[in-house]
Subunit: 343 residues, 2 copies
Amino acid sequence: MTESPQGTAIQTPAPAALTGRRGRRAADVPTLVRRAREGDARAVARLISLVEDASPVLREVAAALAPHTGHAQVLGLTGSPGVGKSTTTAALVRALRQAGKRVGVLAVDPSSPFSGGALLGDRVRMQDHAGDSGVYIRSMASRGHLGGLSWATPQALRVLDAAGCDVVLVETVGVGQSELEIASLADTTLVLVAPGMGDGIQAAKAGILEVADVFVVNKADRDGADQTVRDLRYMLSLGGRHSEAGHWRPPICRTVASRETDNGIDEVLEKVEAHRQWLESSGEGRRRRSERAAREIEAIALASLRERMGDVHGSAALGSLADSVVAGETDPYRAADELLAQL
Amino acid sequence: MTESPQGTAIQTPAPAALTGRRGRRAADVPTLVRRAREGDARAVARLISLVEDASPVLREVAAALAPHTGHAQVLGLTGSPGVGKSTTTAALVRALRQAGKRVGVLAVDPSSPFSGGALLGDRVRMQDHAGDSGVYIRSMASRGHLGGLSWATPQALRVLDAAGCDVVLVETVGVGQSELEIASLADTTLVLVAPGMGDGIQAAKAGILEVADVFVVNKADRDGADQTVRDLRYMLSLGGRHSEAGHWRPPICRTVASRETDNGIDEVLEKVEAHRQWLESSGEGRRRRSERAAREIEAIALASLRERMGDVHGSAALGSLADSVVAGETDPYRAADELLAQL
C-alpha cells in the first residue's frame, strides 16, 4: 500500500466541501482505514464519526471498508429499560476479552433529553474497558424518542468489522420497533428480561419472541426468576416458528450480571456459539447476511431518491409544473413523470 | 370531438391488462369523460372507481380530465365524531342546490369495522339527494383506522371538478391527521364543533385551530353553545396566525342542522363566499391551489419511485448485489447506485 500523505492532509485546512458537520479537517480515508486496521482506536472513532455525520467522504469510506468486512460476528442485545442491558454488555465484553477476542460495542441511546442522564450513568459503567485497546465502545444517537436505530448503525458496524473486531455487540433499548431493527442487523439476538417485570414479558409477547435467538433472564437471584423462566418457556411452546423441525429453539439462560459478578455469562456465550454453529450449518446465517445487505442497499437507494426529491421540493421546476396542473395544461401524473425525468 | 366506439368497447370482453380490480369491462375513457361532463352520474361513478381502483387506465383518466378541471370550489368539512358532520353536509347540499349549484360530496369513511355501522346510518341520511342529478355523493375508503384520506381523494376531486361540479364537499372525521390532509386539499376548511364536547375543543387546541377557515358550532340550541363560542373566540385571540393584518380571521357560525332544520346554514355559506373572495383578492387561493398541485405531483412521483423499488425487492438483481456486499466485493453505496441504474 502506498503511504498516504496523512500528515499533510491533517495540517492543511480542508475545503468546505470536505469538512464534516463538526467542522473537522479533511479526512484521509485510506490512511484512516489502514490505521483502524492496525488497531488505532482514534482512527476507528474518526471513521464512525464520518459515517455518523454523513460526511461527503461517506462513500469513499464505505468503498475503502468493503474489502475488509464480513469477519465480525454481530450480537444484538435488547430489553426493556431496567433489565440490566449495560451491565450485561459489560460482562459479555469482559468474558469475550478473556477469550482473546477483539470486541466492538455500539450502544444506541434514545435521544430523549429526559433519559440522557440515566443512560450516561450506564455508559460510565462500561468505561472499565476504555483503556483496553482490544475494545471499541461507541454510543450512537438513536433516530427518535422510541429509540430506533440510527441509519448510520450498519455503517458503523462495517467500520468495527473492518477494524478487526471478532464480535460486535449492538445494545439498544427494547422499545418501539428497535428490537425488530436490531434483529435484522444481528447474527444472533439476545433478549434480556428481568423477574417481576410484567412489561418485559408483555413486550416479549408483542414481538420479542419472534426476534430472540437467546433469552437471558437477568437478575436471576431475585424473586420470581423461576416464574419468568416458566412464562418464557410457556410462550415459546405456543410460538409456531420454533416448534418446526430444523428450526432453532431459543434457549433460556439465567444471569446475575453486575459490576461484581458475571454469573451465567459463560453459559450465554456457549449458547451464542451454538447458535453461530447452527447459523452456519443450516445456511440461515448466509441467508441473514444476504438479506441484511439487501435491506441496506434498498434503504440507501430509497434515501438517495428521497434526497433527489427533496432537492426539487419548492424548486422552480416543481412550481411551474404545479401551475401547469392548476391551469389544466397537464395532469399530475404527467407532471410527476417530468419531475422524475429531471432527477 | 370524434365519436368513440363506446358500445363496442363495453360489449367486448377486455384484455386482462385493461380490466380493473373488480373485473369490470375495459373503460372507454374519452366516452366516460364526455358522458360525465354531460351529467351522467353513472359515468362519474365509473371514473371515480377507476381512480380508486388504481386502474391501468388511471393515467389516461387523469390526462382526459385535466383540460376540464380548475372550476370547482373545494370545501373541506371536518370535526370529531358526533358533532353532526353528515347532517351539516346534507344541509349544505340542500342550500347549494337551492342556489342552483351542482354539488359533489366525497365522504371519507374510516375503514374500522366498529364504526362502519354508525357511518352507514349517516350515509343513508344523505340519500335525500340520491335522485337529484345535480348532486354526486360518493363514499370513499379511508387509508387506515385513523381516517386518513385515501390517496385517491385528489383524483376523485378532479373527476367531480371535470364533471362540472361548482362545489365539492369533502367530509372527513377529524381524528388523526385527516384534518391537516383535508386542509391541504380544500380551498376552504370548515371545522365543526358541538357544545359540551370537551374533546372537540381539545382537538381544536391540537391543530384544528390552524386549519379552520370557518368554525361551525353545530347543535347551537344546546346548553353550552355560548361557552363553546367563547372558548373558540378566546383560543383564536391567542393564535398568532390570525392576528396579523391581511390574514383571514376565521368567523364562528352557529347552526342547528338536522333532517328537519337548516338553521344557520345560509350564514355558513355567506362566510364561505367571503372566504372565497378573500382567497381571490389576497392571492392566497392561487397559492393554495399551486401548493396543492405541487404536493400531489410529489406524492405521485415518490409513489412511482417506491413502486419501481418494490419491483426489485427480492429480485435476482438485488440478491446478487447483496451477495457481492456480503463478500466484500462492493459496498452498499455502490450497490445502491447499481440498483438505481437498473430502475
